[in-house]
Symmetry: C2
DNA sequence: TTTAAAAAAGGGGGAATCCCCCAATTTTTA
DNA sequence: TAAAAATTGGGGGATTCCCCCTTTTTTAAA
């Protein structure tokens, strides 16, 4: 009996191709492919469509990988999610693991590693590369004072547009000075010195997708 | 006799997988895979390694797809390049086509289309989707006064860091006022109003990769 | 439940930077 | 040699940055 695998990725070519790779593995077979999270949830309404493993991309339209994994954790706890992302980013990996992913494969993954990871998932319930383990260790002492608050998060997204602070204040229904407060607080705790730095930070940590 | 195909992409999983798809096509076979442009050029030094078609990613480390295609056009004019990119972007597509690519496939491409495109390349020497044709038509009247000059291009890349204009001027070995000139000229012809807008423009048009 | 501490929101003011107009000079191109 | 383009510059208003501060609200602890 082979373990069933579902690939969720909005890049048709990639999901089709990954499906092909998985189909070659002797212990695994592809159940079906989805192009985003909500399509997967739709499929899962039929209990015949519940796979052992979901290979999940993170950046997807409509319902992204983190949100989808969160939902799966609650509604289908038997399904193991393996994150499979083009971009490697500490923040994103952490968010994905917190959401319930049992492993995370980077873009430089080779075919053998994919099979090894799938076997790790069914045998040990997880598969963590050295990189991911290191990130987990690093995150222990780091995330405490670097936590970004909801209002600051909202500010960051607006700061990543060409609006000036006066306009941002109007958009956030608060005073200009409050907006400056969010900015200064972020500059201090993120160690950046101007708005370009903030935009770059936001992009690198997937707080904002251009 | 099958047509030989080389896949150039820094995403191992993707290139391996695309290679698998191509291998399934009855008229095509994979010669080898490369992870960036300079690796391809190294391979091509041996004349036994010259393929009929190169499937080329655009964003790659060391030597990107546009630069690589430009070199191929001069040194190996018999090789047909099919751009195969995750991101779809007018500017990038145009640059890739100007560099000599004979076609461009978007991320939502399905397996059949890939085969169709490969056949188009060997039979007609090109394969253009409707989207690409439309972009070509649009570009005719648009690109004239929107051309970005080399110095401006250099400025853009520095403007996408947290340096201020004084520092950028030092980095470019010119006066502060010259830098302001580049900035103002770009703002005018790109229709943007501040530096964040410039950064966003640069990202959207792949002039700068965060 | 009261109290103390922490966080959020708002504010003043000054220095630095950014934006945008104009003009002069030098270099390149036709 | 004249025209076009690139470079440099002045000046000034707008915006951003970065300190200082007070008031209000939320949270946590005694």
């Amino acid at each position: 009996m082979k373990y069933s695998v579902v690939v969720v990725d909005d890049h048709f070519l990639l999901s089709q191709a990954i499906g092909g790779l998985v189909q070659d593995f002797k212990n695994f077979e592809v159940l079906y492919l989805c192009s985003n999270g909500s399509e997967l949830l739709e499929k899962l309404k039929d209990s015949a469509n519940i796979p052992d493993i979901v290979l999940m991309d993170i950046k997807m339209p409509i319902l992204n990988g983190i949100e989808t994994t969160e939902i799966l954790k609650n509604k289908f706890p038997t399904i193991k999610v393996l994150a499979l992302s083009i971009e490697e980013d500490e923040y994103t990996i952490l968010k994905m693991l917190r959401a319930g992913a049992k492993g995370y494969l980077m873009k430089d993954t080779k075919k053998d590693i994919l099979e090894e990871a799938l076997m790790g998932l069914v045998q040990n319930g997880q598969y963590y590369t050295n990189t991911v383990s290191q990130i987990l260790v690093d995150s222990l002492d780091k995330d405490v004072d670097t936590e970004i608050k909801p209002k600051e998060f909202e500010f960051i997204k607006l700061a990543c547009t060409d609006m000036n602070y006066k306009e941002i204040a109007e958009a956030m229904y608060c005073s200009y000075k409050t907006v400056e407060g969010y900015r200064d607080s972020l500059y201090r705790k993120l160690g950046i010195r101007n708005r370009i730095g903030l935009v770059l930070f936001a992009i690198h940590h997937n707080l904002f997708t251009p």
